[in-house]
């Protein structure tokens, strides 16, 4: 499901996330929902950032670009957009109430 650009995202309210990381990959268990998610390095960064504070796509792209040491570009933005779509479909994130 595609989501409007500019949406501010947050980790779904009521979710209870347990993390485990091996090398650059992560598994996240939402034990409120009983679902498990496999995250690559970029997805892990994105979810960590949203667990810290709600953010929209462009601010996520900027912060992740800094943390992985690259310049933000269209490819990174597209990748993070896909990641957000996947998180949303999986119930990990939701639009933050404004």
């Amino acid at each position: 499901m595609s989501v409007p650009t500019g949406t501010v995202w947050r980790v779904t309210e009521g979710s209870q996330l347990a993390w485990k990381s091996w090398d650059d990959e992560h598994v996240v268990f939402d034990y409120a929902a009983g679902s498990t998610h496999l995250l690559d390095a970029i997805a892990g960064e994105a979810l960590q950032a949203l667990a810290g504070s709600p953010a929209n796509l462009s601010s996520l792209v900027r912060s992740i670009a800094v943390s992985i040491g690259v310049e933000p570009d269209t490819a990174l933005e597209l990748r993070i957009q896909e990641t957000l779509d996947r998180f949303h479909d999986g119930g990990l994130i939701e639009p933050a109430l404004t």
């Binding site: 347990a18 485990k20 090398d23 990959e25 598994v27 268990f29 034990y31 009983g34 498990t36 496999l38």
Partner: protein
Amino acid sequence: MTVGELARDEFLARLEHPGISLDTGPFLIRIKTAIGELADEVRFLYGEFPVLPDGGITHFRLELRRPAGLRRWWRPQVFSLFDGERRFEPMPLALAIPTLEWSLNWCVAANAHHHVMVHSAVLERDGRALLLPGTPGAGKSTLCAALAHRGWRLLSDEFALLRPADSQLVSWPRPISLKGPSIDLIRAFAPDARLGRTIPGTPKGPVAHLRPPSASVQRARDRAEPAWVVFPTYRAGEPARLTPLSRARAFYRLAQFSFNYELLGPPGFETLSRAIDGCDTYDFTYSKLDDALPLFQALVAPSSRRVAGS
């Protein structure tokens, strides 16, 4: 006293009433039946297991019966009762032993939530456990049977039972269910393997049960540390190949094979995480046992241990 040490007449009488209670390691089970054909198969497959005194406490109580009335004679059937209640559809009488095995599996999968349960074969060498999770047809039971006859101790063909306290694997060495071509393959591979009769026409095709090796039954209380998780795939014509798999991916897949990890919540997650922490994890394809087994023997060598991230 083991099942095999009981005189046949005494075994049959106790099996019929009040039921024979067996110490299978983590679970004390009582099996009751008056079906003569089933009795001798139970006696063969569970011959090494200790018999408990009648009337004691057991975890699971199964009874296999034939329906009353004309159905006794027309396409005869068998059904199982768990604690006196019917939980399963009746099966053809010829499938009595698979029905018993499936019912026992159900008892544990539906009730033993003090363990994290994963659908996986488990074997052990030098206290270190190898998990072989697999979908039907992946070659899990074939590999398991072969390894169990080449120096590996059988913990289970169906259940990895992990203790939440320390992620150690608990042994439940029951008969191995071999299907289709695997039956003759194992007969040829391990002439000393003790197989029951081949039962045609099960929902899984022909099935034969392999009696668990004596040494595995005798060590049914010995636990093991998880050391390897290997996801097997049988692929005709392929050479045997172990391919490193990341621990995160192995965790994710192992979770998909678990009966109750999500139900258990945080303890389930922590138990599986701790298990994967201590494991080398691989995908494995094979077509021939003779090619496959040396790769598993090589895993045991201390020099084979992968470093984190490799």
